[in-house]
Every structure is written in C-alpha cells, then in structure tokens.
Symmetry: D2
C-alpha cells in the first residue's frame, strides 16, 4: 500500500471547476491519494463520478455524516486522513465542524463560513484537536508570492509605509444591469450568498494576501461600497481604507463591475527601503523597486530565490507556472505538515487566517452601513 | 514679420526644467515666437539667459510689472500676446491677475494659485476680459488621452460606474525619513508650499485628469492622508474616496512615498459597456476593455483614431510621443484658439479647471483634518 | 473498475522533472490511471518510486522488455493501453518500436529518435499497426496556441508571407566558456547527444511550432550555426533561413548562449491580412495585428475563442494557465482519440510531426557543414 | 545677437514630417537658430513657409546653390554655419558635396546618398575640410540607447557572442498586394528609390544601430530578400545573416510586410557576461540580463545611469522621452562639437557611419542577387 496521504473529498463532482482544481493540485506532488468522498448530493451521480475519477465504490458515501461515521469504523491506517471541503459556502461550517471533531485534517475552500461567529467556533475546536486546517486562498501558493513574503520578512523593503491591493473583475456586468437577473441570481441573494458579494468573494482575497505577505495585522477599516442599483442588496464594488497604524496606511479596492477585467488581483507594497508590485494574471513576474537602483524582475525557478520559493517549482526557469501550480503548492504545504516534514511557515493559509477573513468581511460591510466610519478589526 | 503668436515668459530661466518644457512645446508647431519676458529675478542672469535663448535684449524686463507696462506702450501688433507663467507657485496669482487685467492670454503652470479664493478671483477677471487662459495639466495633451476623452464622450464605454486614478511617486523618501531634511525643505514647509504636498502637487493631476476625461464633476470626497511623521505638517500620501453619485464611485490614490515609483500616473475608468486603462509612463498605449471581446490596444497616429487625437500627431504610428509632445499639444490648443482656428473643446485645460483643482485640494485636506468625513466639492 | 485509460510509464522516476510533468498532465482530466511501468533502471529505486507514486508492485517491471511481455500475457481489459516514454533520447527508438509492434499507444518525449532513419522506421510500423503515437512538443498544448492555429486555418490572417520563430536560452553559458566543462558534459558530446545541441534540443521546437500553426511545410533551409569554440563539436546557437516558397519566407532563430534568457520561445507569423505574435514565457496572451485596426489581445477561457481552444480550459478567464496545462491538453487529446471521442485535428503532435522534426535537425546541420547552402526539407 | 549656431535648412517645407522633426530637435536645447534655407522648390511656397516658421525673407533662397553662394558672401559671423539636408534622397549627395566644399557643417537625413561610391566621395571631402557631418540615424539619440552603448563599452556584458536586430513594419501591405500600386509608387521604382526598399530604408537603421552600440564592425553578410511578387523589383523584406567573426554571429531582420507592425525596431545583444534587449516603440526601458541575477530594467533620468545617458535628459525620471528627444539629442551632440564643448564620442552618427551604411545596403542586395552567398563588408 502506498504511503500517500489518504484524501477524501466533499463536493466538487460533475463539471465542478473547483473540483478539477483540487484534484490536480492533490496529485501534483504525488503526496495524496483520493480514496473516498461524497462528490454529489445525488446518489447515482455521486457513484458515477467516483467511478470516473477512479475512486472505489466502497468508499463513496451518500452524505458527509455517513462518510465520517463509516470512516471512523475503519482501522486508523486505512481511514481517510484529510478531507477537502468544496461544497457551497453554507455547508463549510457543519462539515468542517464535524470533521474537526473527529480528528480529520481539513482543506476548506473560502470563504471559510458564512459568519465570523461560525469561524470562531471552528477555531476553538481545532485548537482542542490539533489537526491541520487549510483555507484555500489559492493565490498565495505562487512561488513568487512566497519569494515576496520572504523578502518582506527579511527586511528587504524596510518598514512598510504604504500598501495598495486591488481585485478587479467585470463578470457581474451582464447580470447587474438586467433587473430580472439581479433580483434572481443566488450570488446577489443575501439568503444564499451572505452579507456581501464583492467583498466576500474577492475583497477577502486581497485582504488575506496583504496580511499573508506582510505578517502584519490591519488595525482599522473604513469602507465605501457600491450596490449600483437600489434594488440590489449586496455590494458589488467597494473601496476600503485601511490602517496598520497612523503612519502605515493603504487601501483595498475590489470590484465586480470593472468592465472587461477578468481576474485582476494586484499587489503594491512599499516600505522605506523598497517596494514590490505583482499581478495575478501574470503571476511569474515579481517587480522589486528601490529608491536608487534599476527595477528588478524576479522569476520563478531561479537560483537567486529563497528556498521557500524554490521548493515547489518543478521545472527550470522559463516554464510558466499557473493557478494549478499555486494550488498544488498549498496542498504540498499541508502534506508536509501532516507527514511531519520540515515545513515553511506560510506554506498554506491557516484556519486562523480564514477566521480573520470572515471578520474583515463583517467589519467592511458594517463600516459602509454605518456611513463610512472607521471600525477596528 | 512672422505671423506667429508673440509669446512672453515669466520665470523658467537658467536650468529650469519647466522652462525647457515650455519652450520646446511653444516651438513644436511653429505657432509661437518667444519675444520677451522676465526669466530670472537677477537682472544679469535674466539678460544672459535671454541672450542664450535668442530673445532680443530690448524685450527683457526686470520685473513682470515692468514687462506689462512697457508692453502696453507698444503698438498692439508688436505687443506680447500671450504669457507663460512658470514662476514659483505663490507668484502665479499676482502675475496672472495683472496679465488678465491687461488683456494678455495666459498659460499658467499648476497649481494655479495657493488658494481656492485666489483662483476664484482670477476666474472672475477672465470672465470680464474674455482672454484665453490655460492651466498646464501637462498629461492631458497626450494624443491617446484625447482619444479616450472622445470615446467616453461618444458613449463607447456607456455610463461610468467605477473610476480609479493613481499617481504614485517615491522621490520624497530620502527626505521624509531624515528628520533634519523633512524639517527644512520648502516642499514640506506650509509657509512655502501651501496646505498640501502630495495632494497639491500630484493628487490634483489625477483629479483633473478624471474630470477632463469623463466630463463629469466629482460630487463628494472623503480623504485619508498620511504625514508619516508627527513632526511633518504636510501630507505626503493619501487616498481619496470620491462619488459622482451614490451609484457612480471610485478612488483617487496619490503618494510620494511609493518607494521606487517614478511618475506613475494611471487611469482606470469603467462604464457599463466598456472600460479604459492607461499609464503615463507608457503613454502611447490605450487599453480598451469590453465585456465580451478581446482587449484592444490603441496607439497614436493610426487612422482608426479620432480627429482630435490625430490632429497633433506629427509622425507616423510607431514613433513614440513623449511628455514634450503632450505639452506641445496644449500649446497648440491655445494657439488655435488665439488664432481663431477651428478648435476642439478640451484642446487645453482651462482656468475653470484650474479653479476646480484648487477646490479639490482644499476639500481633501479639510476632510482629512476633520476625521475623514464626506465633503461636497 | 474505473474506465480510465491504463497508462504505463518508462523512465521519469526519482527527481525527474519530466516525470512530474507527465504525471500531472496525465491526471489533469481524470482520463488516465498510471498502473505500471519501469521508472528506473535500478530495481530497488524502481520499486520504491512506484510505491511513492501509488503504483502497485505487481505491475512494476525491471526492464521495458519484461513489461511488454508480461503485459501482453494479461487479458486485454487489464493490460496497459498506452505508454509514456520518458527515458534518455537514445532509448526512445528501441522502446517505441517494440511498443508499437505490440500494439500499445505511445506518448514519447522529444526528440523522437537519434536519427531521421530511426524515425522513419517507427512511422512505417505505426502505419501498419494503427495505434496512436504522440510526440510531446509540449508548447503546442497552450489554449491560445490552439486558437492561433484555428484562426490561421480559417484565413483570418490571409496568405502567410513572413514568419519568424525564436527560441532563446542562456543556460549553457557557464558550461561553454569553461574548457573542462564543455569537453566533458554529455550535452556537448556527439556520442551521447547526437549531431546537434541547440537545433536538436530547442530549434526543433520552434520549427515544429511553425508547421503546427501554419499547416504548411517548410520547403528549404539554409543555416548558420555557432559552436563558439573550436574544440566544441556541437552547435549551441544558430539561425536558419527558411522558405515555404520563393515568396513566403522567414527565419528560425535558436540559441543556448543568449545570456540571461530563460526559455524564450516566440512566434511571429504575418499574412497579407493580419499577423500574430506570441511568447511562451507569457503564454496566456495572443497578440493579433491587422493593417488598420487596433492590436487585439486574446486570452484563454473567453467566449470569443474557438471550441478547440476553449475545450481544455478548466477555469474562468483570468486564471493563468501554465506549462502543466499545456501538457495536460496534449494528454487529453491522445485520450480523446483512444476513447473514440470527437477530437480536433492537432489535439496532440503526431509521430509524423516527430519524424519531420528529425529531418529538420539533420538538414540544418548538413547545410551548415556544407558552407551555409540551401537544402530541401 | 544670440550666440546660437546659425542653422540653414534644405527641404522640409510644407507639411513635411521630417521638417517638423528637425526643427523641434534644433530648438530643443536652445543651441540653434534657424536663420535661412531653401525649404521648397516652389519659390512662392518657399517664401510662405519661411514666413510661417519665422525665417527672415532675406535669407530665403530659391536653390541650394544660390544659398551657398550668397551666404559665402556674408561675413563669417553672420553666415549660416550648419545646414540640415532634408530633401529627397537623390539630392543629398550634390547638396552635401557643395556644402562640404564650402566649409559648412552638415546634418543629413539618411540614407546618406544613393550609392556607396557617392558616400565615399563625401567622406574624402570631409576629411580635407574637417567640418562636422551628422547622418541622422534618429534612434541612436535615445538616452537609454546611449546607456547601453556605454555599458557595452565598459565590458558589462563581456565579449559579444550573439546579436539579433529587428526592424519590422507592415505599412507596404496595401501597396504591394495591389498590382497597379506596386508598379507605380516611387518607393518601389528602382529609378527613384535606388537598389533597395526594405534594406535601404529600415534594414540600414538596424545595421547602424548594431555597429553603433557594439563599436564592432560586421565582417560578412549573407542575405535572403523577399520581393513577394515577380513584377516587383525591390526587396520589401529580408533576413541578413551576419558575422563579426566565426564565433560571434547574428542576424538582422527587416520587413515592410510584417502586417500590423508599426515601427518595431528591436535590439538583442548577448555577451558572455550579460545581455540587453530594447524596443524602439517603448524606448524608455532597457532590459539588462545576466546569467544569475534578476532581470533589471533601466529607465532614463535616473542617477544610476552614465553621464552620457543623463546629459540629454531634461526632466525627472518617469517623464517619457519620445522620438523628438532622440533627434534633439543628436542635434545637441553636433552643437557641442561645433561649439567646442566637451562631447561624448557617439553623441551623433558620423559621416563615416553613413558611408558604411551605404556599403551594407549594396552588399546585402548583391548577396541576395548572387544566390545568398557570403560577402565581405
């Protein structure tokens, strides 16, 4: 029997894009074996899909509750060790909770839960159980992002004085400008999508990336959100002023109505000694600026990079890494931890980071609702 | 005698960078002849410089007051017609005022004045006198900026729903982090520099460009400025939330502490049908985005551009235009007006636009001082 | 039992980069199951590696000959169906030959063989057996490359009049300039590396890409190669003039001494109606040029793309695809053929294309050796 | 009287683009005064144009012969000192010859003459007379080109082992594919345009830039030109293999049928220690590559640049320089020499360089005509 980590999956069946992303990522470093799960609420489709991806019928379960109880009956060395949670958002919390309580490691899609309160509850249980728990802020896995994190930690750009994060998309345009559509899609229905559309879906990525890269905590936020139509209940655009302190400030900008933008997440972080710029759609270029030297462009796989950055690059420099590589590196980080290998701090986004993401969403929405006032985070 | 416009210049002598910029721009279309001025407060240097640039000694004056009175004594067909004001900021107002009162056309560097009040006064006099008055927001002269303005006016991107302007520089870093320097340079001395450093010097460019391009007026602002040190009295960084209306919003971001940035003015404007992106450091590329077609990249000098954009391009497509071309086009716009030629609206930034720029600076500083509140513009 | 294609692998064990690339690619669309192989000539390492990647010990073989004979003894519905050949170049021919003779589908790394003659032999056998045979010119799998191929086929750029392919690397610099190294590395030893270094390793990629994209055959070549030192027997740089006809010409440029270049494969193809540019290091951008319209930039995953291009994109536009995706798409193409699904012509590079690649290498080396003369291809 | 250099101009009247370019360039550094010339063969248009650009009627001449004889009658301190020759190509030789014989400095557009023989004749006269003579290979004036030249001279990239120059345009497409047009335009008429279209017009720019930057002489050329139609007598596309020596090689590529390209001149030069890349359409970015460090991007106006590069930059870093600046810097180089100021070698392209350019054109055409053979240069 292989000594790979035995992975279960909840959700991600059929044509699910997120399902492909996680399976490819899990397979990327030969460290996981997908051996069971509940991929689809429909029993027939569930079985068929399992067959299609090569999972043995004996480990395909009708519900996550059954999966957990059946797996707990197996000997520990056959039991699923880690579970990827890829279901609709509102299911993350009950699934993750039960998984944690039974000692499974969890890899959960974002947003972690539908409220900060639920997130705090998961955090409490994890602390008791000591399992690994990753929240897949996918973009943090790019090798050059890890290089940036390392260089900031090592003081290369000095004290951070100015930050500017952007996440612009335009996909909601055809929906938002059509009254019947905007009043019917689940994405804009507070009952299904929660308290926020833009900030919850993408603003939180930008926010997480900022704290991930800087290892600093945002102290306060003041937001101005845009709903575009009075009959639309959720934000689909927003700007958030942020402060680390009175003298270290910046902004997070997110939009789903930036017409023509695809997935334009950008980073700009400036310290007193240097600065960085990065764009997700062109993820293999890190722009490093200083006061008095030429701009430098760092690319993955080169010997001048840090060990953390190089660790996950599999091909020589000049072979572009994409979003699958980024997610693969996160899975590798979790695997290294589960396997007890040496592991870099930051090799995957933790539950604590996911909890903080939920708080960010709540505070941003609250600041806007209260008339654009400062709130502590 | 040539039928060029007789141009006088105040300031811009010696090694003045702004002086070179204006002279080259004035010469670019063979429409101006520099025939007099007061280039330097020192009489000897004034004469020497005039000689160096080929201005006849008889039209070199010790002060602007003398220049005006002497020129008024000349027959109208010999008299200086237009005057470029390139002196330190606090002199713009008295010079421009007297020039206007005597019927000269004025081309004035920005910021127009040191207060909104002074600016309003100039506006009043100009209305009475009917002379031309340009405020040299230099970046508006790029041919591709004029193309963007035309396309927005023609509805190509539809109703504007999201705007995002940036002006990032890093040059103040070596000064701001050195206590003795930051307490001594005139740039950070409120007595010499006025009420703002970053917003006054560059934020105002971004703001003007936004209204210039969209032909819309910002309704409200809420700002968060950064002074970086408690002993520094002026802002050197800031983010300004802006609203055209409750459903058309955006942000203006400006910084002098964005380490390593040179002169990074960017435009991003999104309507319900399309969007534009542009970067000043790479001014010959206009990125046009839509919901459902490939990104398009427009470049100067091509037949697919508007007449306003093409008018000022002098060489075939593929010959890069720079900042001198941009300023040259503004001078050309003023010349066309003075000469009574057909002229496009927007061919140069007007006094009214300069007045509004002063108001913007004052309101942004006030919003920050009052605790980041919304103020009407 | 899963209905995935049963895949065997020869080579690619241990830390092999190419091994990772093929395994990830095979797993990407859930269409292959790696069930056996001979990964390593050392029996112990072979077993250990198989265990590590989850291959059952019963299907791990000491040699490729044993693998073939044992697998042929298995019932057809259990037998390995397709085999990836990832061994050193000189083993491609004997392995592929025997695999073909026994009816296995083959996915073979490039260069196909060590001589054009061997390649022709494989071609003959395949014609008799009718199996699928892919040669992994990896870069052809990018979605946007497939879009370019489609648009050229559909006449979008008209008749091709000018082509320009580049493949520049700089990695051999530290080796070539060190006498002891250049006289010892296998890469520059004709006995081990064959008749060419630069043209054989990377020039052939550029050449293949050209014929792949245009569906045209190069008629003649004239080459000028550079060995850089008189004691170096193999080319490490070269320029190849090419002609499709007397009025349709171009150039293929390749180098391993383009200092600082990583993996800079570029395409420029111009027809009488339009042109294309593309860069491998930034593989998600296709630049489409015309005589009279703005440059267009096409990106993967957008509805304006062809079905062939869209087929293999798994995530929404704006999620960068990398080299793994490109190889994954080639594996998907082979799988579709094996499974009898609808398949686009060009979904993977065929044996015939690999044969032609071998001829190109031989003719280019011959042209140079004979004093830079034209040779028919 | 101003101590500016007294400049005369031959040609460049009316709407001439090249006329604007030279006038703006001459005015850029306040070092020239345009005081006379013959701008147009039509006497009335000549006078009108002179008036328009502010040239006194007394110094406007009906022919260049009259200009020279009349000016020679003036006292030396009033006489025109330098003359810009902007006429059609076939007039360059007789004009430049007579100007040289009478001791005028000359600034001549390229191509210098219509044959290498004429060029050699000018060279002989200049040697006797000792006047300054610039050939306006305009693109050499960009500040960042001068930086590249300096760094190569200082050994930063080591010994040059590989060069690759490109000059691609697409403008001739609508002409070449229309039989009546291609048989009638002067550009493709050997009697009017000389022996070459593409190589003569733009290939020569790429060739000159190469020798200008490297300070090396191309030893041999082998060319393959494309006429596209059998009834077209002149090349409109070509690739030229070049050798500095048996171990230092490269290629010059030029085209007027690269559909959609505007003015895409590029440089790639690789030494054993480093490399450079540059693109004319984006002239403010110099890409510096090494074996083992991140790519660096150098931009004009920064303190890390050489004195030669910084000398002509007039505004702070981040203010884009364009083609006018490039030509202005060449005029400045000539002026410094005439004025006896300290001057950098390479501050303008010399007559010797123009002579060599003529030889290049002749040899490239000859190589192609003789069946693509090597010819010494």
């Amino acid at each position: 029997m292989s000594n790979k980590i035995r992975l279960g999956i909840l959700g991600g069946g059929g044509d699910s894009l997120i399902g492909v992303l996680h399976r490819v990522a899990a397979n990327m470093f030969d460290k996981y074996q997908i051996i069971g799960g509940c991929f689809n609420p429909d029993p027939k489709q569930n079985k068929d899909f399992a067959d299609q991806i090569g999972v043995n019928a004996s480990r395909v379960y009708d519900t996550f509750e059954i999966m957990i109880s059946e797996e707990m009956n197996l000997p520990e060395n056959q039991r699923i060790q880690a579970v990827s949670v890829l279901t609709p958002n509102f299911l993350h919390y009950p699934m993750a909770k039960k998984l944690l309580e039974n000692g499974f490691h969890v890899i959960c899609e974002k947003p972690l839960t539908t409220s900060h309160e639920e997130a705090l509850d998961l955090q409490k249980i994890q602390k008791e159980k000591g399992t690994s728990f990753a929240v897949t802020y996918t973009y943090t896995g790019y090798p050059i992002i890890r290089q940036m994190k390392d260089m900031i930690k090592n003081g290369v750009i000095g004290n951070i004085q100015k930050v500017d994060m952007q996440y612009y998309q335009g996909w909601i345009n055809p929906i938002i400008h059509d009254k019947s559509q905007r009043n019917s899609v689940w994405r804009l229905d507070p009952k299904k999508a929660g308290i926020s559309s833009c900030i919850g879906d993408i603003g939180t990525h930008a926010y997480h990336m900022l704290e991930y890269l800087t290892d600093m905590k945002v102290d306060k936020v003041l937001s101005d959100l845009n709903h575009l139509y009075s009959d639309n209940e959720l934000d689909i655009d927003g700007t958030v002023l942020i402060r680390f302190s009175d003298y270290s400030k910046g902004v997070i900008r997110a939009s789903q109505i930036a017409t023509g933008e695809e997935n334009n997440l950008t980073v700009a972080i400036y310290g007193d000694k240097g600065g960085f710029r990065w764009e997700q759609e062109n993820p293999n270029y890190l722009y490093y600026l200083t006061n008095d030297k030429p701009l430098q462009v760092l690319k993955p796989g080169n010997p001048y990079l840090s060990e953390f950055s190089l660790q996950d690059t599999k091909l020589p420099a000049g072979h572009p890494e994409g979003i699958f590589d980024s997610m693969g590196n996160i899975y590798n980080g979790v695997a290294r931890e589960i396997n007890g290998e040496d592991n870099f701090k930051g090799s995957y986004p933790t539950l604590d980071e996911g909890v903080r993401g939920m708080k960010f969403i709540e505070k941003v929405v609250e600041s806007n609702a209260k008339g654009n006032i400062w709130l502590s985070l």
